[in-house]
Amino acid sequence: MSILEVSNLKKVYVTRFGGTKVEALTNVNFTIEEGEYVAIMGESGSGKTTLLNILAALDKPTAGRVLLDGQDLGAIKDKEIAGFRRDHLGFVFQEFNLLDTFTIEDNIFLPLVLAGMHYKEMLERLVPIAKKLGIEHILKKYPYEVSGGQKQRAAIARAMIIGPKLILADEPTGALDSKSSDELLRLFGEVNRQGQTILMVTHSVKAASMANRVLFIKDGEVFHQIYRGTDTDQQLYQKITDTLTLLAGGGERA
């Protein structure tokens, strides 16, 4: 069964003054199966963040439908949407988005506390995840005391701790140096192999080449997609580069 089904998604922004319209998404269709690791690529301004925000129910589409685990996001009441998001989705952002008023540990606990879980149970969940991500020794520290890579790992822990159906990541390596990026991508791969479904937006070919499938967005539509099949990372990398060149060329013609 597919975890995510996106059909005929359309998003039009109306600027506050003057009412000029920007069509960020025209017609997006795709599905994601359980256990998949999907990367989304596209030029700047092609609508990737917009798409992710809609999938996360942070924004509403102008038209179209999103089914998450069989549940229509559009049918959820406004009041319940935050709770739904909390229980079914995990987020990893480019800017980490850790709250600097909390220790790393408390940041990770945040969704659990919001869900009203007991401290003991929270702790039980945290221990294996922290171990897997290698952040046990920084749990008591504050965000300003740790490195960017560590912050991002904490953000991943926060995304994972609730046991979400899907993890959404918006350019998770964007603010990291190459060593931390590699480390993070390795972790993503590992988490995915253990069954976690991941959808990641990225500009980095290297990051995309670690996924099982890469979607390309252009002019508000899914323009192309590549399955890994039996390709190695290097082979996938080459295919992505080729597609991007093609995309850029097409962009010039248009």
């Binding site: 935050a82 945040l110 506390v113 919001l114 007991h118 504050y142 926060r158």
Partner: protein, 685 residues
Amino acid sequence: MRVGFYFGLAKDGIRKNKRLYLPYILTCVGVVMIHYILGFLSKNPFLASVQGGNFIQYTLGMGTWVISIFSCIFLFYTNSFLIRRRKKEFGLYNILGMGRKHIGLILLFESLIVAGLALGGGLAAGILFSKLAELGLLNILKMQISMDFHISLFSVKRTILLYLGIFLILFLNTLRQIRFQSALTLLGSERAGEKPPKANWLLGIAGFLLLGIAYYAAVSIKDPVAAFTIFFFAVILVILATYLLLIAGSVVLCRVLQKNKKFYYRTQNYVSVSSMLYRMKRNGAGLATICILSTMVLVILSSTTCLYFGSEDALSNRYPSEVMVTLCEDEAGAVSDEVYGKLDELCYQLARDNGVEPKQYSTARFGYLTGVILEDQVKTQLEGNTERVLGELQNMVLVMLCPVADYEKVTGRHVELSQDEVLLYSDDIHYCYDTIRVGENTTFRVKEKLDREDPAFGEATGLTNSSKSLSFVSQIWLFTSDFDRALGDIPQLVDDYGKKSLTYEMVCYFDTELPRKEQLSFGSRFAEQYKEQPLPASRYYIETRASQYADFYQTFGGLLYLGIMLSVVFILAAVLMIYYKQISEGYEDQARFDIMQKVGMTQTEIKRSINAQMRTVFFLPLILAGIHVVFAFPMVRKLLLLFGLNNVGLFMTTSAISFVVFGIFYMVVYKLTAGAYYRIVSNIS
């Protein structure tokens, strides 16, 4: 040309940050205005010419100094807030290749613009409103008004010098901060200091302790003179304690709450406790200042309005009788039965000559000295260090010495007293010894203690309507058979001013029940006629309550006026600080609001938690100020006694009204500034 460019940048900088600068400049204008007006009034020639004007001008002059010092501290505080927000901009200029010198130039222009606006606007408003202020003052003082208008060059000069000085120092201070920081620190300075505050247990607990001591001192104080000496001590303690409590104490409290996992990991507590921790660190000082300003406003308003509206009361306390004729002597021998009798006759006669049938007519004679009562001894000379002497002043008493014959005459009772025996009456003190020593060498045996309720006693001492005036000092009355020699060597003692410690008085009191104006003319006629045939006495005074009336209104009216002016300044300052607090919290919460929403907190949950937090933090100063005021109440009441005011009901009323009015005002400010806060928060998310 180039200079014009930097001037333009400075202007833009202020315009772009007008949300920050406008309130700042307006407050500067307000403070400058009030400074000018106070200076203007304190040198106002018309005010100088009226009776009692000197005291008022002195008071207003003091007020000018208070405002000067306060402006200095306050502008420093708000300016540092502005700079913190501007540093990022300067860091950017710096990275874009602008030298420190040029940034300094921009800053200079900014300071000049702010100073120009503040001084120009403030002086213009000050001059414009000075007449209004003068009329207001004269009205409060119940004095004739004059319609001429003038500008006080003295005050203009003083205002310009003071505020230029302050702005110069502010400019130099900002320059210093910019100069010693790298572009990167400047860029990041808004986010700097994100370190979680460490709980400083020592300071937090010290805060509680200091507050406890101050409260205890305020509540346990017994008499007004001591209240006066302790007041400033207590004020300083309370200020210190407030800062400690709000800065360190609150962090300690949050830490304790955090340690309690069951409590902490609950949705509402989780977010609010942790962000409160940060908030208090950043805003604790601001909150403490708001709290202290509020307390000052409340204490000043409640006490000065109480004095003003209670002046009638204070007047009749200080002058229980409408007319009081006093003869003073330094020698006991001069207080002869003959003169005493003549005084009685003469006053009665003079009153009737002037068409008045004296009411509540009574006479009294006594010798009195002040001392400090320690167990069964009244010490007339204090030794030791000042601190101890001040401490002992709490036990100050007035020893009134009275011929027992007077008591016998009024009561018709015959009392047999030997030379070392006395009848004793004490009003406030419960005197429980069998003997009483006055000075070092004179000891009396107390033959009998008299009852306050005994009406005859009141008549004999004139206490029913006389010496209440001094009611803030306890009195001990001693009736003795040998008025002359009773006190041995005491009469020879002189105080530090060369005045004899023991003074003898013969007093005659009565009421006329005339309206105030006629009472005045009666008083002067009476005094003139008395002058023609004076009784033998070293000194004499003739006082009427009516003639003191203007004096009282001027004293209390002047205080009320100053109180109102100071309150306006303090309120202005408090409002500005509240506004800045909301704005800075708005900027802080912007990002947090966004993240929490993404992590799965609902809008309403966020709003509720932010609201609750904001309200707690916001009303904390008001509540603490309320508690301060409650504990200050007994002490301030004692201080009011020094002004002859003993009307607890009135003081309670003015306190309550002040608090309610101020509370409503505070609420309105909260609502308005909360609006600014929400606008900032919702801008981004």
